[in-house]
Symmetry: C2
Subunit: 332 residues, 2 copies
């Protein structure tokens, strides 16, 4: 059945089944923000053919990824999620099952965090377009900002980078990566299709990250646009520089069984969509956090007073490199 056969009211009724009953039926949703917490708001827009496509992304995964990207922005602020709204415009010829699977992907991604869909809008368009706005809360003193990194801070990544870009490559060119095991191949594709926002890191920082030392200063953001972009954005906002050690960048071990190390580092730096957190904090705290996180978490460099971001190569094979913002992904 197509959306135009079901009609707007019919589609709305089906989609409302994905929302908590008590939040439906008014002009807006009512939510509770805990006392003393700041509200955190972030919004993302995704367009069919630009951000997802039937070629690489099922409707379930498109919904999952869109949601993960927004939850990752909340995690990047140190915030816990409260809810999301979904705006969806689409041609009347889209199958209703596409829309339902898309919503199932959203709900599956939200489920571990008990986060509801609290509202939305649907309308007609010539191209499927999704706008997700996520709300969260954070104690103002625990908010992770981009602007508070200081020279001497360790730069920590919460997991491996380059996996999502590698998974995309496998989806676009299934003949590639013949040397990979079936499990490794599946893991890379999974990293692209079902990224997991690092809200677990937020909980860890909130509950014990300061080791009882009181206020914890953590600068950071997520690596949705690549590790290089994250470090560059933090440095620009904090008016500092950084040294990244090329050999410390964690990428999936399976990658080097498939591509040259130079390619793996390129994907880690610029591939994007790994949705890890890039955090700047005192070295001792960073080391403890790396141990707690495991799974590819690593210290990859340090913040410097010199306002450039340098990719250091201790091996002597590649030479040092100055990183610049221009190399990242650009729309238009």
């Amino acid at each position: 059945m197509q959306v135009r056969q079901l009609g707007e009211q019919g589609l709305l009724k089906r989609l409302q089944e994905f929302c908590p009953v008590d939040l439906i039926g008014d002009d807006a949703a009512l939510l509770t923000v805990a006392a003393g917490q700041s509200l955190v708001v972030t919004t993302d827009m995704l367009v069919d053919g630009v951000h997802f496509s039937d070629r690489t992304t099922s409707p379930f995964d498109a919904g999952w990824r869109a949601t993960a990207a927004n939850l990752s922005d909340l995690a990047a602020m140190g915030a816990s999620p409260l809810g999301i709204t979904i705006g969806l415009s689409l041609p009347g010829t889209v199958e209703v099952s596409w829309v339902e699977q898309f919503y199932q992907g959203i709900v599956a991604c939200l489920q571990p965090y008990s986060t509801p869909i609290v509202g939305g809008d649907i309308c007609r368009s010539s191209v499927i377009t999704v706008s997700i706005t996520a709300f969260g809360q954070v104690s103002p003193s625990r908010a992770i900002r981009r602007s508070t990194a200081r020279p001497g801070d360790a730069i920590l990544v919460t997991g491996v980078h380059g996996a999502s870009r590698a998974g995309l490559e496998l989806l676009l060119h299934p003949d590639q990566g013949q040397g990979l095991s079936a499990a490794d191949r599946a893991a890379l594709i999974q990293a692209h299709q079902r990224p997991v926002p690092r809200l677990d890191v937020v909980a860890l920082l909130r509950d014990g990250g300061d080791g009882g030392d009181g206020l914890l200063r953590v600068a950071g953001m997520d690596s949705s646009d690549g590790l290089a972009d994250a470090v560059l954005q933090i440095c620009r906002a904090s008016r500092v520089g950084a040294e990244i050690e090329r050999n410390l960048i964690p990428f999936p071990p399976s990658l080097t069984a498939w591509v040259l190390e130079a390619q793996a580092v390129e994907w880690a730096l610029y591939g994007g969509e790994d949705f890890e957190l890039v955090l700047c904090l005192p070295r001792l705290v960073a080391q403890r956090l790396v141990e707690q996180l495991g799974n590819g978490a690593a210290i990859v460099g340090r913040i410097t007073a010199e306002p450039t971001v340098v990719l250091r190569d201790r091996s002597g094979l590649y030479g040092d490199e100055i990183l610049r913002l221009e190399k990242g992904f650009q729309h238009f």
Copy 2:
């Protein structure tokens, strides 16, 4: 200059000038919700050619209208605005001046309420699509719900209806309405292009609407989809019925100098986009509120226990009519 010539970063930089400086530069915006207040969230999606078009709407007005619709949803909940986010996807060939005028319209509509743009997203698409999410706050005991109307309540509209639909008619068919004065014509077009959300009513209800009687029970919603739809939605949510008096429906006096009364009533009931509030509350409170509001505010009927919505005709010219939801605007 076109958007693709300026590039994503260049466009973002221009648009950030419309936002407060302290809210820019992180993965999400931090906002403060006052203690004891609930967060109210609403989202709308608008598509070029469906919700606005260069034929009837300048970019400034498209921005204004989209914003007014969202603020009206907050007003319909009894909430005061805290901020909005804007998702914008558009072809690279759109003129940068179009985008800037669109944002100017948004900011102009927000300005009387000191409400900031707190975030957003831009990306490439084949069709201009706008998603606005608005946040507000309301004391939980003051929230206006659709589900709390009771038999005997007066049904109050905060202003005239049909003006927006009439203005649209004049824009689509400039040869129409030759009998209208230039001022009346301009006022009707203004009603369509620059609707004003009734946040003033929210302030009035909050500050003195209960006349010192303590808790005020007000059911209601806005009339964005027409007066008939609003009454029907409230009745459905509250499991009640209503009688609307045809002769009490307020429409702009100029309308009857142009179209037959039957047409004016049709536009008032089904035209939509007047963005007034339709409130159900005890008759004495309603009468006081009508006096305070003036400007077309009126009691148009009453809530009944019988679960049908009847349009009563005391003149005997038209006969009574049962109103149904199906007649409203349907997408797809």
